[in-house]
């Protein structure tokens, strides 16, 4: 019997424990979904591969921590304030830098946002170190309930709920409202939409800000679970990119669905063959790229 097969046979947990692991996978999937959602929106509407997304997620968590530590502003206001602050930073970034490279190859946007991410991360690391700041769970959500098959912390239940709400809201906004239809039209043919009297550049700016704000919201949600650390963004961003590729670049439904599914896949790997847990997503990505290069929900280019 090969080594990994023996591993699976030994590690086979009772069904009850398996439910617990599935739920954990869903919780992590909630973060993947929220982050890949923002990336998909930005890529779908602006054609920018936003490598600063991880840094914006990290900035969201840091904003929440700053607000609590220096201003005494708690978790709930931070859920709104931090995304607004990070969206403002995103808007400035779009106006000052990104605007100039829309006509160039994708690669330039990727390099630019990657560079910006490295700078933000480096500056914060210089001042706050790498091991992170503690941020406690809001009082209303402390504790846990015993579901019989596992101990579910209330806060994690809230994360799943919040993530589903945000994902649905964003999908609805873009696919089902008038504003969303302008946005989609502007992606297809900006000059025509502009001819109808719609300020396309401003819409693009706001879209980027919205995407950055989504990342920051995920960051605030993540703050009480992980340490608020300058590295938290770069740790997760590579995985999130793989999620977006698997779902199909630019597809909102694809980003959300593959986020949750891959969270579960990763969760199960952690039980059966933990050594592979941080590579399994890339294995899936490689297979998807071979079989269906546009991703599960992507349009063929």
């Amino acid at each position: 019997m090969p080594d990994w097969l023996a591993h699976i046979a030994v590690a086979m947990p009772p069904t009850q424990a398996l439910f617990g692991q599935l739920l954990i996978g869903l919780i992590n999937g909630a973060f993947y979904a929220m982050l890949s959602l923002g990336l998909a929106v930005i890529f779908g509407m602006l054609n920018i591969i936003n490598f600063a997304h991880g840094a914006q997620y990290m900035l969201g968590a840091f904003c929440a921590w700053f607000a609590l530590d220096y201003l005494g502003i708690g978790y709930w206001p931070s859920l709104i304030l931090a995304p607004i602050a990070v969206a403002a930073i995103g808007i400035a970034l779009e106006r000052l830098l990104l605007r100039h490279i829309y006509r160039l190859d994708h690669l330039y946007g990727l390099l630019l946002t990657f560079g910006v991410a490295l700078i933000i991360e480096g500056v914060l690391r210089n001042y706050y170190g790498s091991s992170g700041q503690p941020y406690s769970i809001p009082r209303e959500l402390t504790g846990a309930r015993n579901l019989g098959f596992m101990f579910l912390p209330n806060y994690r239940a809230w994360v799943i709920f919040a993530s589903l709400a945000v994902c649905f809201g964003t999908w609805f906004l873009i696919e089902r409202t008038r504003l969303g239809s302008y946005l989609r039209a502007a992606t297809e043919n900006p000059s025509l939409v502009q001819a109808f009297g719609i300020n396309v550049p401003r819409m693009v700016t706001l879209t980027y800000g919205f995407g950055a704000g989504l990342a920051a919201l995920a960051g605030v949600l993540a703050a009480p679970i992980y340490q608020v650390s300058p590295l938290m963004g770069s740790d997760i961003i590579v995985v999130v990119f793989a999620v977006v590729v698997i779902g199909g670049m630019g597809s909102i439904v694809g980003a959300v669905a593959s986020g949750f599914v891959l969270g579960v896949v990763e969760g199960l790997t952690k039980v059966f063959y933990p050594e592979a847990s941080n590579t399994v997503i890339f294995v899936v990505m490689a297979i998807v790229l071979l079989v269906k290069p546009a991703g599960f929900f992507g349009r063929t280019v």
Binding site: P13, A17, G20, Q21, I24, G25, I27, N28, R125, G129, S130, S131, G132, Q133, P134, S136, I137, A144, M150, F151, P153, Y155, R156, I225, Y226, Q227, S229, L231, M232, D235, I236, G267, K270, V271, P274, E275, S277, N278
Partner: protein, 401 residues
């Protein structure tokens, strides 16, 4: 084009000449090689460079010249670490490399040092294999190892009734060595290991592994990991009600930077083993004051250990007036190690520095008087009990008697 080529050739010749010159007679040059940017950066990182610089300044001129300190980030990758070590020894005239946390990188650098017959002063890496099967006449393991962590912390936990263990282990050389050494202690005391899980280095979410540990019903969850991984395990363990369920964490390697990052509320009651704590006595406080005036926070035991190692190395060179690696190693073994953190330490032939180790407990928030007032001393363990006996490590340099 021809001009460019010519310039390049000139530069190459000039560089190689400089390298050759530096090796024979230049100033003593020490390279600090560690993790500057990732999960172990707060343990050593730039603070280790500051510590090495302080040791160099305190030593004054050595062999008539100012000691030079250079540094690099090995990114926790053995291939990167080995390549830098090779370049430093061969081309940059580095006489000794120090710190090198992350055991997998240290094991690679250890082989480079052996091949080049150059000195490596390991402070950060913990794997006891560095002074065991992989021991090297040109290397020293300065402050601690997995054997001593296992014996002091593991021994104390088993003694207080923790006799069934589940390990959450970092999946590389260090985690494996730490789990192995601790499991030995547990079994020798009549306890059992009911399970383990190997987790990739630098993992953000431990909840899945914590659930497995919870399901194992072991009394003690042994954390054979370090830095950010330990912090996340303990923090998320609180969320999943590990301690409320009657299980306890045994953090086998915890640095003061980890405790600071977790906060006393989450970390209180944890026992940990260390060779140094900044608030132990007048001498450690004096050093830590100087260090934190320059660096902004008190030293971890890794950073303090870098000072100790560099200071002893320079002392040996001064005593014999040469930086020849063989002679310096012999002198370092001969001289007793005495400084703010070491009392009559001794460098053994297998590369192990034998020193006292201390068992600490993290204070309750109510007991702490300030941001960095974190630990209380429980027990002092003499070096000959904390470290592996010389003849038990399978080090080829030790003659079997």
């Amino acid at each position: 084009m021809r001009m460019k080529l010519l310039l390049a050739a000139v530069a190459a010749v000039a560089l190689s000449a400089a390298g050759a010159e530096a090796q024979s007679s230049g100033p003593v040059k020490i390279g600090v090689l560690n993790d500057m940017s990732s999960l172990y950066a707060d343990i050593g990182g730039k603070g280790s460079v500051v510590a090495a610089e302080m040791a160099a300044e305190d030593a004054g001129p050595v062999l008539g010249q100012k000691v030079q300190i250079i540094s690099a980030d090995h990114q926790n990758k053995p291939d990167v670490g080995a390549a830098i070590a090779r370049q430093w020894y061969d081309e940059n005239g580095v006489d000794a490399i120090t710190d090198v946390p992350t055991s997998s990188v240290a094991l690679a650098v250890n082989e480079v040092a052996r091949e080049k017959k150059k000195i490596a002063l390991f402070v950060g890496p913990a794997s006891s294999d560095l002074t065991g099967p992989k021991c090297n006449a040109y290397a020293a393991s300065w402050v601690y190892d997995t054997y001593s962590l296992a014996h002091v912390t593991g021994g104390a936990v088993v003694k207080s009734g923790g006799n069934t263990w589940f390990f959450i282990t970092a999946d590389y050389a260090f985690g494996h060595a730490l789990e192995r050494d601790t499991a030995d202690v547990v079994k020798a005391a009549g306890g059992t290991v009911v399970g383990d899980v190997q987790v990739p280095l630098n993992t953000a979410d431990f909840s899945s592994y914590l659930l497995q540990a919870q399901a194992s019903k072991a009394k003690i969850i042994g954390l054979a990991n370090a830095g950010g991984d330990t912090i996340n395990s303990i923090k998320q363990g609180a969320e999943f009600g590990i301690t409320e369920g009657g299980q306890k964490f045994a953090g086998l390697l915890i640095f003061t930077s980890d405790v600071h990052s977790l906060g006393l509320k989450a970390a209180q009651g944890l026992q940990l083993t260390a060779p140094f704590y900044h608030d132990m006595n007048a001498e450690t406080r004096a050093f830590s004051k100087r260090f934190s005036d320059r660096f902004g926070r008190p030293p971890t035991f890794d950073q303090a250990g870098v000072y100790s190692a560099v200071a002893h190395y320079l002392k040996a060179i001064k005593a014999i007036g040469t930086k020849d690696p063989d002679k310096v190693m012999a002198e370092m073994r001969k001289l007793p190690i005495n400084d703010f953190m070491t009392k009559n330490g001794k460098l053994r032939e297998d590369g192990r520095v034998v020193r006292d180790m201390y068992l600490f407990e993290v204070k309750k928030p109510s007991e702490s008087k300030g941001e960095w007032d974190m630990l209380k001393l429980i027990e002092t363990v003499p070096g000959d009990q904390a470290f592996r006996p010389l003849d038990k490590g399978d080090c080829p340099l030790v003659k079997k008697g």
